[in-house]
Structures are given as structure tokens and as C-alpha cells.
Amino acid sequence: MSEAAALGSTAPQATAEPPLLEVNNIEVVYNDVILVLRGLSLAVPKGRIVALLGANGAGKSTTLKAISGLLKSEEGEVTRGDIRFAGERLNGIEAHRIVRKGIFQVMEGRRIVADMTCLENLRLGAFTRNDSGVKSDIEMVYSYFPRLKERTGLAGYLSGGEQQMLAIGRALMARPKLILMDEPSMGLSPLLVKEVFGIIRRLNEELGITILLVEQNARMALSVASFGYVMEQGKVVLDGTAEALANNEDVKEFYLGGHGADRKSFRNLKSYKRRKRWL
């Protein structure tokens, strides 16, 4: 964390209890040559929502896939550093075993099984479970997403918002301790984005699920998160409480957009960005 500027006083590292998820100085290489993450560190304390922000190609999705183990199916590999979940080292563990440890990734673009029904998708979410609570959990998911109950056709025909809800509902079916959420707002109307984020906040408050949230929509992400990290070129360049980040001038400039009379033209913004880098 040495290069990263810490904002705000309550950094999660400072709390007494060790964080639920700890990523220490990891390096990720694709196809043995392409270095994507260059010493990334972050921590997600239990019961919190932590946002991971950054521009396209900063390595946010790669970070999530490194944690969930899905990197391997894309020829990626964690070559340095370690990832710990509840004290246990996750490096090298296969993706399907990591799910059983309580980490569930809601992948970018929903990725629901299009040729199955809604209900089948939900039941699939409970694949790792053997207990008898699956039925009541389906009802629990319906209580968060009532409109899924009415959809009996193939999931591929659902609207984008409904698919996102189904993807989150499917994750709930696994009863995870930690959900890694990759761009839940992608392709949704502003109203739906609000709805989805409202539900994300409720899942955190009511079910106590810890969430690591990757988002392009920084304003939304910071409104539900308690802590945030900003990534650039495979590293964390800035972290702090959500409030501190939302008020940080650079974050405002790069991710929240300038407002009011001093709004710069896009061309100015770009050159400004080129002049002023964090690294």
C-alpha cells in the first residue's frame, strides 16, 4: 500500500479484526506474458460493501477473477502475492472449490444460462448445497425480486434488468459469505440501476453479506459502499472511505465528472488527465 495515498481515517486495515478478504500485493499474468495486475493490495472487512473503481482496462475484473479463481479458464495466473479469505490462502485453488468456501462471483454481463428457466437458474445457484433449505431460499430470492416469480419462460428472454436480478438471485442461492459483483449497472436504465443498488444495499444490511463491488458508475458505487479503492494500470492508486473518495478532487474529476460552471470540455479533460497521473 506504500504508493497509494490513503484518505480518511478509518482504513479497514486499522480495525482490530482481520478482514474477511485480504489481497496482498498480487501480480497477475495472462498467457505467461501480459502483466495485468502489478502488486495490487486490498482488504474487505466482514459485513461491509467495498467499491473497486477505475477506468476501462485498469484490471478491476481481473482482480475479481483472481479472487474467485476464474482467471485460470482465461489463461491467467496469479504469479506473486497472496489472496486470503477468512485466513485461508486461496491461491491455486480451483474456481469450483472457491465457491464452496463462500465466495461467489456475479460476472460481468450477467451470464445467466439463457436456455434454462428462471427457476432452473436459481436452483443451479444452489448447486454446492446439500441442505433442505433450497426451497425456502428460492422464496427468499423472490421476496427481493418479486418480478422474477412471474417469469416462467426461458431466462434468455428476460430484460436486461431482470437478468441482472436473476444473476444476483442466483448468487444468493449459494448462501455466500462474500459476493464479488462485476458491473451490476452495465446496460441498465438509470431507474433500474437505482433499484439494483437499493437491493445490493439491502442484501448487505439484511443478510449481512459482504460485497466487493466493481463499478464504472462510481457515484452509485460510492453511495452504497463504506470504503473504496481506485485502480489504475493494475495497481491501487487511491483508497479511502466512500465519503472521502466522493469528495476527493481527483476522483471527482476522473470518475464523477466535473459539474457546474467550471465544467471542462472533453478535450480539455483528456489532456488534463494525460498531464496528471497518479503514477
Partner: protein, 297 residues
Amino acid sequence: MDLTLLFQLTLNGLIVGALYGVVAMSFVLIYKASQVVNFAQGEFLLVGAWVCWWFLTEWQLPFWMGFLFTLAFMTVFGLVLQVVVLRPLIGEPVISVIMATIGLGIFFQALMKWIFGVFAKPFPPIFATERVQVLGLDVQTVYLASLAISLLIMLGFAWFFTSSKHGLAMRATAFDQQVAQSLGVSVPKVFAMSWAISAVVSSVAGVVVGVVNGVSSALSFYGIKVFPAVILGGLDSILGAVLGGVIIGLLENWAHYLDSQWLNWGNMFQIAPFYALVLILLIKPYGLFGTRNIERV
């Protein structure tokens, strides 16, 4: 026109078609789950039938016991085949995998000839009454039993893929392997399971045909007959495979009827399904039920 013969052949067609359907289903199962075109499917029937024959004649086991042992053997056979031969080929070009399955087919064909000889050998009689009358038609009891077994297997498949979590996991794997992994499904396990199920189901068909016609290397011809069935149905549709099988069975027997009544060309009817295959590929290249991707606009 000989109507009794027509009915008889239609019934035969349905029964044989159901068997084709079962074999086609097990072929589609492997293709769907692991994207492998298994050219050794017919040899699964062959191996299953010979193993069952061996249990019944050499060990003198009662039929049900020999049959259960055969199923157990085929489970292990399918698993070992996947793990030893196909698993190392994951990610290799399609053509390599196809060559490997063709090789497997030739290997088991030869192995069976080496162990059991080249001549057809009959199963010991299984049913007390060999033939029964159904609606005035003369039917072998084995055929009726085979129809019942085929239907049972199809119902079993339907239940497996819609209600059991392993069936759902298999469908998810067929849809997108990364998604399946993200849900906690072990993809290599699904591959192995699909081969085991496929081998078991094919061997059931093999035993049934063996009981009717005797066991010989001609059994593996079923593996070839399956191609028109699956292509008619659409390579990746289980329902299509069943319907394709039944249609091919009927076509074959109707062609037989046509031939015996008017044409008298000899056994040209044997390849009637392949004419159908060519026609289907001209008109519906993806088959009747082949995948159409759901795309949201």
C-alpha cells in the same frame, strides 16, 4: 399391398427407432457436455453387449445380475475412457479429438474380435415366451421389453436434466463452462459423468440388440446409424435425438416395405436413412431442433 406387413414394419420401425433414439441421446449427451463427436459410440454398444454375454455364458449368472454387472462395468469403462484418453485432449483441435475417438472405435472393434471371435454368438434365452401377439401382430418379447426400456431411459433423461442438480449442472456446462465453474460445478467431473452415463445407456441398447440378433461386430453399425438420427434432430438437442431416432427407424422400415413390395432392389433400404440425412442437411442444416441462440436485441 400387404397391410399386415406394413403394420408389422411400422411397429418394428418404432421399436428399432426408439433404440436408435436411445443411442442418439447418449451420443448427444457427450457432444453437448464436452463438445466431442464420439465416433466410438457404436463400440460402446458392442463392448456392453459382449461384456453382458460374457457374464451370462461364461459365469452363468442370471440375466438381471449379469445386466447389473454390465452397467457397473460400463460406468467404470466410460469414466476411465474420459479420464485417460479424452481429458488430455481438452483444448486440442477438434480434428485431433475426432481422430482419437475413431481410433478408440477401431481399437475396441478389434479387441472384441480378438477376445470373442468374429462370429455372432446368441444370448441364452431370457424370456420364457419368445413371441407375443399385440393387436394381431407378432412381436418378439425382447422387442417389447426394449421399447419399455427405451421409454424408461428417456423418462430418466428427462427427469435428470430438469430436476436433478447434476443434470442442471451438465446443461450449464454445455451452455458456458466458465459460468458453470462460477456456480461451483467441476467441469472435468461433468465431462467424466457424461461419458459414464453415455457408455451405460449405449450398453443397454447393445444388450437389447444383442439379445435379438446375437452379438457380433455388426452391432457397432448402430453407431453409424445414429448420425442421421442426431443430425435430423439437431446435434445438440436431446429431444431431437429421440425424435430423429424414431423417424430414422420408421424410414428404414418403410423403405424396406417399399422395396419388398415394388422395387426389389435388394437391401438398399439399409442406407435409406442416409438419403434422408443428405436431404435434411440440404433443407435444415441445423436439424429440426438444433440450437438457435437466444439473442436479445
